[in-house]
């Protein structure tokens, strides 16, 4: 029995990934962590029917409880083999309008909580190996005026992923980092309210890449910032 932990599965890229991955039968158990329980239940209904889903109500803006949640998942299923850190938060604002609360919440949801989840899940993966995938963003790779907290938190995620790829290689734990470009989700709507979502990538496009990376077998593109961007639409 193999277990996969996913954050951000209540909508967008996380939902599409949970549904698509469940169809590969790569994992038997899924722990979906989030606040929007209704959204997570809808995701679960669309996942393959012969897998186990455990929905956990947790807010990533308060990471203190995460070690306990990871222990609970490991206790319930016996193993943790994969972690997908997909949840993300943004509150775009200029330097003068960016409050401490904004940058703190953004970093907590986008970096600190994913880091704690990596650390705690890796404790269970240490002996048999495992896979971790983090979502950064193309926003973390170039200056984005007006997005200082979001873009810099995603830059941090790229660095966290690269550093931990090296620290965890010895245990056979692979760390992948993807940086999607514009993708039609609620979060994107906050960043670009007037954009026509039908002209940009769809969550399934990104989910397909995620399933390829963490699906069957190994591949050698861990530790790199993998850009997932549609050049022409």
């Amino acid at each position: 029995m193999r277990t996969c932990v996913i954050t951000g599965a209540s909508s967008g890229i996380g939902r599409a990934s949970a549904i698509m991955l469940s169809q590969t039968r790569e994992y038997d158990n899924y722990a979906l962590i989030g606040r929007n329980i209704k959204g997570l239940e809808e995701t679960a209904q669309n996942m393959a029917s012969d897998i186990n889903v455990y929905i956990i109500n947790a807010d990533l803006s308060t990471p203190e409880n995460l070690p306990h949640i990871v222990d609970e998942i490991a206790e319930k299923y016996g193993t943790i083999d994969c972690l997908l850190n997909i949840a993300g938060y943004t509150e775009p604002a200029s330097i003068f309008s960016t409050t401490y609360e904004n940058i703190q919440a953004t970093y907590t949801i986008n970096c600190f909580s994913p880091f704690i989840l990596m650390r705690e899940c890796a404790k269970y993966m240490k002996k048999k190996g495992g896979k971790i995938l983090n979502i950064a963003s193309t926003a973390g790779m170039s200056p984005r005026p007006g997005w200082v907290s979001y873009a810099s938190s995603k830059a941090a995620m790229i660095s966290i992923s690269q550093t931990l790829t090296e620290e965890l290689a010895e245990y056979g734990i692979k760390v992948y980092c993807i940086s999607p470009g514009r993708c039609a989700t609620n979060l994107r709507k906050k960043l670009a309210p007037d954009e026509d979502p039908s002209t940009i990538m769809q969550p399934e496009d990104v989910a397909r890449i995620i399933c390829n990376l963490i699906g069957e077998g190994g591949n050698c593109i861990d530790g790199q910032n993998i850009v997932v961007r549609q050049k022409i639409k």
């Binding site: 269970y124 002996k127 290689a169 245990y171």
Partner: protein, 226 residues
């Protein structure tokens, strides 16, 4: 089943660092953790006896939790000499067979331990040929040694606990000092001690330069293991 005795009592004065070498970071984690993780993975080992200074037991206990080391770990106090440290560790060990290892050798692999355990003889050491010439002498050359007959003694080593304890007690009574346990056991008991082929990656971190070499060994030899 084996008790592993992990020697971690060194003060690291040769490194000229304020922290003993077993707690310095190597490839991002404390040197002692490299060995503890290896020992934790071996089914043949049921307990780990860490021999260290009293003031480091709290540090090690915290590391054991942080790194999720599942095996039972007990502590023995480091002695004035390495020999005394081993003796203290032996007295704490529960099993009739022991594996002695030292925290300053972070590159002994699972395979090294397994081959040592699989050796036919109860007592065995990892040994490797000496790639350079060694002569006798202090300020002037006193004698030539035949390199082909010499072995670089490495750790880990395995022993029958009762045999090794007996030899240690004799050495204690006679006030004899040895730099490692295979020599001590051989001297007193003339025991049959098998030499299992070691590796030149299994270096002992002694001087500051070894930490630099260690980073390379880790990257090329340990991290790429899987």
């Amino acid at each position: 089943m084996y008790s592993a005795i992990l020697l971690a009592g060194g003060k690291g004065t040769r490194m000229q660092k304020s922290v003993p070498k077993q707690y310095l970071l190597l490839a991002g984690k404390p040197v002692i953790i490299h060995s503890l993780e290896r020992l934790d993975e071996l089914d043949e080992i049921s307990e780990i006896v860490v021999v260290c200074e009293r003031e480091y037991t709290a540090t090690i206990t915290q590391l054991l939790t942080q790194y999720n080391i599942a095996k039972e770990v007990v502590f023995a106090l480091a002695g004035q000499t390495r020999q005394e440290s081993v003796y203290n560790g032996l007295k704490k060990a529960k099993n009739s067979m022991v594996i002695i290892h030292e925290a300053a050798r972070p590159f002994a692999t699972i395979n090294d331990f397994k081959r040592l355990i699989a050796a036919n003889s109860e007592n065995a050491l990892l040994g490797y040929s000496i790639p350079y010439t060694v002569v006798e002498g202090d300020k002037k050359l006193d004698g030539i040694l035949d390199r082909s007959k010499l072995i670089n003694v490495q750790l880990p080593q395995k022993f029958s606990k009762s045999e090794l304890l007996q030899a240690h007690e004799k050495a204690f009574r006679e006030g004899c000092k040895f730099t490692e346990d295979a020599s001590l056991l051989f001297y007193y008991e003339k025991s049959n001690i098998e030499i299992v082929e070691g590796s030149n990656y299994n270096i002992k971190l002694t001087e500051a330069l070894d930490m630099l070499i260690g980073e390379i060994i880790y990257k090329e030899y340990i991290a790429r293991r899987r």
